[in-house]
Symmetry: C2
Subunit: 96 residues, 2 copies
Amino acid sequence: MVHKLTAEARQQFFADHPAWKEAEGKDAAETTLTFADFNEAWGFMSRVAVYADKHDHHPEWFNVYNRVEITLTTHDAGGLSERDEKMAAFIDRIRG
Amino acid sequence: MVHKLTAEARQQFFADHPAWKEAEGKDAAETTLTFADFNEAWGFMSRVAVYADKHDHHPEWFNVYNRVEITLTTHDAGGLSERDEKMAAFIDRIRG
């Protein structure tokens, strides 16, 4: 069972991950990444996909050419959870 | 130089590819695919990514878990072109 972050933990999340902002209209965090080209964007997405499949936690994401928009939330928890925090930390580590 | 499909070719496109519909508000074609799980969706996306990089023509696409939404258009042509037709044919061939 996974729980939503507490109000304090949520605040800490956005303080710790300045590249992420609160999504409008839902309890989620979002970020946009821009790469040199599609090949580089896809390499990044592949690393996130392996992480996602391993941890059974999946992003909502949009890609066009060199741009990747990611929204993280945990449906089972009804909002941002520790799983999103871990995935955001992974993404921040590899976003270059 | 790539040109937009003529009105007749555009009509033929949607007749030939019934899984695709006209996007609202732009000259583009869109489809939604549903897979067994994220792993299968990602396998499909990887095949499209290899095609995209090889042909230097890229989809706009959104994924969450087992669902993939794809929009095809050719920015250089200002709308649907032969490149989109070829990519749609490839996607239809592998969508299973």
